[in-house]
Subunit: 337 residues, 2 copies
Amino acid sequence: MVAEHAGVSIPTVSRVLNSPDRVREETKQKVLDVVRTLGFYPNENARRLRTHEVQAIGVIVPHIRDFFFSEIYKGMSEAAEAAGVQIFLHDALQRQERLYEGFPLLKSKGCSGVILVSAYVSRDFETWMSRAGIPVVLALTESETGAIPAFKVDDVQASFDAVAHLITRGHRRIGIISGPDEDPTAGRNRLQGYQSALRHYNIPLDPALIAYGAFRFEHGYEGMSQLLLRQGDEPLTAVYAVSDEMAVGAARCLYDRGIRVPEDVSVVGFDNIRLASLVTPTLTTVAQPFEEIGSEAVVTLLDMIHQNITEQQKGTRYLPHRIVTRESTRFYAYDSS
Amino acid sequence: MVAEHAGVSIPTVSRVLNSPDRVREETKQKVLDVVRTLGFYPNENARRLRTHEVQAIGVIVPHIRDFFFSEIYKGMSEAAEAAGVQIFLHDALQRQERLYEGFPLLKSKGCSGVILVSAYVSRDFETWMSRAGIPVVLALTESETGAIPAFKVDDVQASFDAVAHLITRGHRRIGIISGPDEDPTAGRNRLQGYQSALRHYNIPLDPALIAYGAFRFEHGYEGMSQLLLRQGDEPLTAVYAVSDEMAVGAARCLYDRGIRVPEDVSVVGFDNIRLASLVTPTLTTVAQPFEEIGSEAVVTLLDMIHQNITEQQKGTRYLPHRIVTRESTRFYAYDSS
DNA sequence: TCCGTTTATGAAAAGGATTTCATAAATTTT
DNA sequence: AAAATTTATGAAATCCTTTTCATAAACGGA
């Protein structure tokens, strides 16, 4: 080790860096000077080998290009850094098998635990994960059996609130562009919230006003154009898309057909990614607390690792969502003619 | 180490795991059985401490929320994975000192090299980097001295092309919302490209048509509103913003003032991030080959690491840009009155 | 059968920090 | 001023592997 420029022993340097009060002021300064001059940083591997600190956790995302990724990653990386833990990122590149591969891979790289973001967790997937023998926490998704700790918003309630936002502003003919029916989290749950809001306010459900898509711009566009074709005599006055990206796609579809947002049709999205406030009109949407979800997931995972358990807080914890009102929704006044 | 259940020595276990051909079949099986039974994984810290074979490189970004991050990261992670190398990400959270910290930090974590993305590299910064004693490659930026390998587009030429795109479509009064003047890469260079395009086509330079900003939506908005105030008797018919985000901000500013894009004013951006094709009108822009830049940077860095040199390919390599024509620009027909 | 190779394994060193323990120096107590 | 206590520091052990290096066993050739 180089810091013997200071003319002290190795342990003294270590003490200066770790427990500065246990060393004389004079020596401390001398050592710190050298440390600064040489730009010395202790070797993390050696230090962790000795201290048994956890060194890394893994994060698996289905697709790093998803807009919300950088939001949730921020929360995760801050929590990880605070705990002195390194994050290993694994991008599944939208391929299911790469999602699976991630677990043994990250484990072999030295990750003591894994956070799985957003991906749908089937029963099969769940047994696969448990076989990996490594603590897992879910973010933005949950497991069917509820055996794995998960952090997300209450999709049913959030969806209910989004639709209620429209209903309380006078809308009655409200379409939905939902996620894939196979996806329980962002698909079925959000559809269910939509349906129960309509029921709650005594508005008839019209299957023609339901479209499905896979969260992307194109799917929003396509879904919207289907809804327009199927809406029948009584045109819809509002659309709820279960992702901001789809909402923007839907808005574009309306724009292309000369239908104004929000004057003719109101649009609500889901996520509150940055995109929502950059488009024109800015998007009313359901805000997910991405950063908080990310940091909570990390904290919980680290707890699990330290206590050496695989299921400390079994089940899903719901974090608060909120409706962000922007330009894409407005009151609808029924024609009195 | 627990694997002495197998009745062999520690090095033998190590050999079974690392160079299986150097151990007798029988012993190998015995050891592997125990390894599987006990679910043994070698301690990564100890292994890395010994081998130095750390197989990791660091990536420093000024701000992970920048839209282009996920684009360039994709290229980097693919190249890194192909080489069997782990990426350690360091988000500077927009703070200059965290940018600096990144180098010793990543090094101490075992990174054998670092890619610095997008951040402006002053002379001071450059000496700091060299002091870290670790190979560095730049992406989307370059060093003043040109001593560090860098990958980016030719900003001057790209800028020239963007403005030429407008000029050849009949525009004469063209404003620019440039980057900060202190930023040579995306600031001065792009401004210079703008100026030389105007000169090349014999169009008078009007200082009133130059605004500055820091690449974000708000700065685009603000810059645009300044240009509108200053444009004088002969209103501008086109604006070139040196980032897509700023271009979207500028478009919003125009929208708010009832000026139509592209009917009244054409808008060109820079980057071709996904945002550009999601907004309405979709944005004509200068496409940067983010993925390629990312992967090239990784490949070069790995070369440098393996050859144990700090400056294999000194200087900047320019990758091809291209103009992507979308809805935000159109031909301008001069009033013949 | 004996000797030179090759092969399989173990003992010991190395890697770079932290931590324990012992000791020298400084400080306080009596 | 001597004894007792506290404080600052270094020597050596430790963390867990991998990697020489040495040695014993197995093998082949003459």
